[in-house]
Symmetry: C2
Subunit: 296 residues, 2 copies
């Protein structure tokens, strides 16, 4: 059982109250794939430029991430520069789309065996292109961001109408639905075929909203945070990769998916860039999962 | 098994995005006592002025709240006027201490049988006066606010050193300890004889921090909120009143106390002033308790 992750591949320069990194491996598909790799076979679909470091390729291979869907195109890799004054919201200082501008994702045949698809944060038009090539995935999920909700709400709605699970944060679900109460807002999205809306609440954890049920999880309590970039991507990547082994989206399955996502996201934010997600011991993630269960 | 609640008695004028009320029954001891009354015999200790409405007295009696400790003094009842632009923080527009200025609380003999004491939000010097009269209570807890932390930190520390349980919100625990991370900050307070620090997180619920354990609870999900005044007081009142029947502060006891506090606080914020706490059916609070258990 395996998962396809489609999204952005980036070289990030990030400044947080704890320090800074330059041109470091990033992007929604990278964070989500690394997180997913702890739970099952993972296929990455995205585009990078000729400047994409060979060490990054090696790192992804060390995590057994299948790269048939990784395109290396002439030009530079997508670059993002951001600064965190508030842990929950980065201020974008600079964005260079570069090769992402011309990107037209396609699912390689090797993905045929995959049973889950995660459309990580990327232009909804690209998410739609992937959905048009969709094979018979058991579970399909999407993530997005305020920028796309603001500029491409119709395309985003077309995406949401085709998925089983939607990942959004509180601000995004309010912005997308125009409803201030996050439970009402999530239920608005559940009027489609979407089965679960996972509302991410930053340091306060998340709530999974079903048509007739709820599941709350706190964030994993950390005494130190280094960089919250990729927290949501790694939460969703782990969540969806865990689901590849599951046959239903019942509350116990979602409960476990949320806890694995929460633990993996905590690993992510405990270090800069993707460092917290690299070469981790799964038993450590399992231990954090068990503690979350105990603490709630 | 019964509880003594000491704190402020007020006539509040409150404006929220949902409406306004004038000279309405309020104060930390009132909210906490009404919440406590659903769980056991409750003794109120506080001071009101000659303008204190007889309907308020009747209301408290209808809730079987013992009023031997209620002093009616010449002058006006403490008055507070506040407006909520943000549900988590009221802006105080006007405060008249009135009879509270000269208040010197004393525990009536009838309280001898009580086994728990809740020092609701009031001047720490008054909380200390009560602690000096302390009988052999099984559990003693205190609440406070940013104002006292700012002006009377030494007195507040003397109070905290004498209690088993401390209720604070995130901002208060950071302000009192000077530590930004709420888990570290709570553990700093746990260096005393305090056994549990309950950190209130507004719409995100609460976390009970023990020396070697944690318990997270979400807030009860509401689709409509009217007025968050008294939410923390009613949370703590219900929490402490439930504890009067318990012999230890083990995690299962605290878990139940947090959930009863959470359900009762949700009742409080669902209507204006104390209306949400008045003449409720306990089975309804129990149902909310059960749902909280299911949703986590």
């Amino acid at each position: 059982m395996s998962i396809v992750v489609v999204g952005s591949i980036a070289l990030d320069s990030i400044e947080t109250p704890k320090g800074k990194i330059e041109n470091s491996l990033g992007g929604s598909a990278i964070y989500a794939s690394l997180a997913a790799s702890y739970f099952g076979s993972t296929y990455l679909v995205g585009v990078a430029g000729e400047d994409f470091p060979s060490e990054a390729i090696s790192l992804l291979k060390e995590h057994n991430i299948q790269l048939d869907g990784l395109e290396i195109k002439p030009g530079k890799t997508f670059r993002w520069k951001g600064i965190y004054n508030d842990w929950n919201q980065a201020e974008s200082l600079h964005t260079e789309l570069n090769v992402l501008l011309e990107f037209s994702p396609h699912l390689p045949n090797s993905c045929k065996q995959c049973n889950s698809l995660f459309l990580a944060n990327i232009h909804p038009q690209l998410q739609l292109k992937v959905l048009k090539q969709m094979k018979s995935f058991r579970w399909v999920a999407c993530d997005t961001m305020n920028y796309w909700i603001n500029l491409y709400p119709e395309e985003l709605t077309q995406v949401i109408e085709k998925v089983d699970i939607v990942f959004v944060n509180e601000e995004e679900v309010r912005q997308y639905t125009g409803i201030d109460n996050i439970f009402k807002a999530a239920r608005k999205i559940l009027e489609t075929k979407v089965q679960v809306v996972v509302v991410k609440r930053g340091e306060y954890g998340s709530v999974a909203v079903f048509k007739d049920d709820l599941f709350f999880s706190p964030a994993y309590p950390l005494e130190e945070i280094s960089d919250t970039t990729g927290a949501g991507d790694s939460f969703a990547g782990a969540f969806m990769s865990y689901l590849t082994t599951q046959n239903s989206l019942d509350r116990n399955t979602i409960r476990s998916a949320v806890r694995y996502g929460t633990a993996t996201a905590a690993k992510c934010v405990s270090d800069f860039g993707v460092q917290g997600l690299v070469h981790q011991d799964f038993s450590n993630i399992q231990m954090m999962f068990n503690q979350l269960q105990k603490w709630t």
